[in-house]
Amino acid sequence: MDIEIIEQIYAVLIHLYPRRFQDEFGEEMQHVFAQSIKEAQLSGWRSVWVLIWREIRDTPIAAIRERWRARGLPPYVSPNESQPDEKPVQQWIAISFFIIPALLTLVDVLLPDGALLVLGPLLVGIILFSIIAGFIKGMPRWTLPSMGAFAGFLTILAYQEANTLLQPWIAPSYRLIVGDESLVSRLMWQFIQTGEFILCLLFLSFVIIGALALLDPNRSPIRSLKEDWTRLSFLFYGATAIIVLVDFDDYHHEEWAQIAIFIILACGAWGYLYSFNTFGRIASLLSAFTIAMGILGISKWLLAPSQEWWFANNPSTTDRWFAVLDTSCIWFWMMLILIGPGLRKRKPPNIVLNLILLIVWIFLFRPIFPYLSIIFTRQEFRLNQLALLGVIGLIIYQARRGGMQARFGSAPMLYPPALVMLLGSSIAFVLAERLVDINTFSASLFGLAFYGLLGLWLNPTTWRQGLPASLLLIATLPFNEHLQTFVGYPLRLFTATLVRDGLTAFGVPSIGIDTILVFENGISQVDIPCSGVKSLWTGGMFLLAATWIERRRIGKRWGLVSLTYAFMLIAANLARVAILVTVGEVIHWRLLAEMLHVPLGVLGFVAACVALVWMLRRFVPETVSENIEASRSDEQSKLRHPNWLTPALLFSILALILLYSPRPQVAAAQSNQQMIFSQEANVEPWPLSPGELNWLSADGPLAASRWRFDWHGHRGSLLLITSDTWRAHHRPERCFETYGLTVDRSYSSLINSDFPLRLVSLSAGQKRFRYTAVYWLQTQDRITDDYSTRIWSDLTPERQTWVLVTVLFDKAEEPLDGDMQAFYLELRQAVERSLQGGSGQ
C-alpha cells in the first residue's frame, strides 16, 4: 500500500478530534505519524500494519475522550473560521422551511383538513418573506433555503419545457442508450436526465444570483459568496425539498417517510447554520442529504408494490429496483453540487480523484465482469484458474522482492506508453463490444487497459518490468478455442505438409497429408494438443514468466530469442509428428507410437524451455542494474503530473461510457421445437437430459433440441443448436470425442454448389463399432461446413442466427448416397423454413 495514502487517511482521521485539539496538535500529530510510518517501513510491512492497527484502535477512543473533555468549554472558533452572523429568529426561519412541511404532512395525517389552513399559509408566508428578504438584503444565509426552493421550482418548469422542445433529439438518444431496457441502461438514461436537470438548476441559480448582483449597487450577493462559498451549497440544499416532493408525487402512503426526510433535512440545515467552518457546514448538508435520500429510496422500495399505478403497468423486480436506484442518480448529482462550492479554494485530495477515476473506469468495463466471473468460477476452466493463481502468486512474490513503487496518493503521471495503453485499449474495448463481441478479446483489452491505468502511478521502470507479468495474467484467459479455430488447423496442416515433404526427402514412401492428420488425431484422440498450438501458447507464457523472473530487457535481442524459441517449439512438434508417423505408419509399430506420443511432446517442450532460459541469460541484458534506484527516481522526476490530466481522463472515459453500445441482436428464430419436417423423415422429438441441456446451454444458445429420425430405413439422431453467437456452436468432432468416439476421418463435401457439408467417420471400441456423422452450419441464406467461417460471420455489424445441424447415424452409412443427399436437402429446407418463419414474424 502506498505510504502517502496511509498518511492521507490518517489526516482524515484527525478530524475526529475536537476542532480546538486539531488546531493545536493536528499538524504535529500528522508529522509524528509520518515519521513513525517511515521508521516502521524500514522494519518491513508487518511493522507498518502493527502501527496502523494501533492508531486505528486508539484514535476513536482518544477522540471521544478529547470531545468529552471539551464539552464544558465555550464554543471554539478557529482563526480561519467565522461565527454565525444571524439572529436566532432568522436561523429558525431557515430551519422552519424544512420543519413546517413535516408538520403540514403530520397534521394532514392526524388532524382534519381545517388545521392545514393555519400551517399552509404560514409556510407560504415564510417562503415569500424569505425570498423577498433575500432579494432585498443580498441573499443572507437564512433566506437561502427558500431561494433554493424557488430556483428548484423554476428549474422544474424550465426542464419540462426544454424536454418538450427537444423531444425529436431526445427520442433517438433514448432508443440508443436504453435499447435493451435493462436496468443498467435505464439507470444510465436516468443518470443523464438527472444531470441535465441539475445543470438546469445550476444555470438558473446563477441567473438569480447574477440578477441580484446587478440590481444591488454594493454587489452584496457576490461579496457574501466570496466570503463563504458554502452559501451556494445551502442554496442548492433548499432545492432538495422540491426534489423530494416531486419524486414522491406519484406515491400514496408516503407521509411518514416524507416527515422523516424533512426532519432530517431540517437537522442538516441546523448543522449548517451552527457550524463554524467549511468542513462542518458541508458535512452537515451532505450527511443529512444522504440520509434523506436513503429514506427516500427505501420507502420507494417498500411502497411501490402498494401503488395503483404499479399494478397497472405490470411491473417486474427490475422496475422495483429501478424505482429505488434512480434515487441514487439524484443523490450523486446533488452531492457533486453540494460539495463543489466547499472545494472551490481547495483541490480535492488526489486519492479521492484517483478513486473517482478508477470507479468511472470500472464502470466502462462493467459488461466484461460477468464473463470473468464465469471464467474464474466454472469447472471447465479449472486449468485457467490454476494458471491465474500461479501467476498471481508469482506477481506477489516479485512485487515483494522488487517493490511496487506505486504512488496512488499522487496525481497521475503523464507517462505516454501507459496513457496510450489505457486509452487505446479502452477505445478498442468499446469498438470490440460493438463489432466483434468476443468475450476473451474484450477481457484481454480490460487487462491491458488496467495495466495502462496502473502505469499512471507506477514508477515507469517498474511498469516496464511488470509488462510481461500483465501479459502473463491476460494469457490465463481461455484462448484455446480461438487459437484452435484461427491458428490450430492451419498450423496442423502446415506441420503435416512439412512432415510429408521431409519423409519423402528421406526416401520414405509418400504418405498423404490427410493420413498424417488423421493418424496424429487418432493417436491422441484430442485435437488441441496435437496441433502444436498448446505448446506454443504454454511456451509463450513460459517466455513471459522467464523474462519477468530473470528481469530481462524487452528489446531487439529479446525479440530474436523469442523467435528462435518459437522456431524450436515448432521444430520440436515437427520432429514429434515425424517420429510418430515413421514409427506408426512406416514401421507399423502403432503401440510404440501411442506410447511415445506424450513423452515426445514433453521432451521437446522441456528442451525448448531449457534452451530459452539459457539464451535469455546468455544474450539478453538484465533490466536491473546497480544504479536502478537512481535511474528510477531520475525518470520519475522527469515526468510531469499536469493538473489537466485527471479531468481529461475522466472526460475521455465518460465519453466512452456514453458511446458504449453493445452489438444489436437480430430477432431470434422460432424454437427448434416448432420445426416442421416432412412425414417421410419420420422425425420425433428426443428430449435432452437435464445434464445435456445444461451443458449445451452454458454458452447461451437460443434453442437446442434433439430428434430421432428414420429416413427410408437409415436411422439416427439429429441435434439442432440455434444461436446468434458463435460461442454456443461447438465443433461437433469435439462433442463426439467427449462421448468417447474416435474421429477417424473428417472431410468436406459438396451436395450442390451452395451446399457444403462435413462428413465425419467415427469409431468406438477399438474400431469394432463404426458410425457416420454429417454436419453443417446454416443461416437463412447461406450454408457452410467451416467453423472459422461461422466465427468470422460474427464480425459483421449485425448478428445473424445460425443453426448447427448435426446428424449422427446409428451405424456407418454411405453418406453421399443419393438417398442421403435427399435427406440432407429435406433437413436444410426444414431449418430454412424455421429461420424464415421466426424472422418474418
Partner: protein
C-alpha cells in the same frame, strides 16, 4: 500548587504520564522523540499512539507541568518543530513520583528479605 502537600495530591502518576515526564527530564524533546524514548524507557512495554501521546501532552500543558518550546534541531523537511520541556512544577512532581516509587521499592525489598528467611530456613543460623 507548589507546596509539597499539593504535589502529593497529584500522585500517583499514570504510567504514560510518568514516562513522558521522565523522557523530558534530561532535555526538551519533540513528539516523535518522546514516543520513541517512552518505548525505550519502558523496555518496549509501553507504545504510545499519536492520539494517546498528544492527549497526555495537552493535559500536561494545561496542568502547567510542561511547556511548549521551539525545537533547536530542524526536522528533515526544514519545518519548525515544537518541542516540550518540563517546568519546575513538572520536575518537582516527577521527583516526588520517583521518590514515591523508590519508597515502594524499598518496602518491597524489605519484604523480599523477610520472605527469603521463610523460603530458606536453613539460612537462619547465619
Amino acid at each position: 500548587m507548589n507546596t509539597s502537600t499539593d504535589i502529593q495530591t497529584q500522585l500517583p502518576l499514570t504510567e504514560v504520564t510518568y514516562f513522558i515526564l521522565l523522557s523530558l527530564a534530561p532535555e526538551p524533546r519533540h513528539g516523535y522523540a518522546i514516543m520513541k524514548d517512552v518505548e525505550r524507557l519502558s523496555q518496549g512495554r509501553v507504545f504510545l499512539s499519536t492520539g494517546t501521546l498528544y492527549g497526555a501532552l495537552k493535559r500536561l500543558l494545561e496542568l502547567g507541568w510542561i511547556v511548549r518550546t521551539q525545537d533547536s534541531k530542524e526536522s528533515e523537511n526544514n519545518r519548525e518543530r515544537k518541542a516540550y520541556s518540563l517546568t519546575n512544577l513538572g520536575q518537582s512532581i516527577l521527583q516526588a513520583e520517583i521518590e514515591r516509587l523508590s519508597s515502594l521499592l524499598d518496602a518491597a525489598s524489605i519484604k523480599r528479605l523477610g520472605n527469603s528467611k521463610v523460603i530458606y530456613p536453613n539460612q537462619t543460623n547465619h
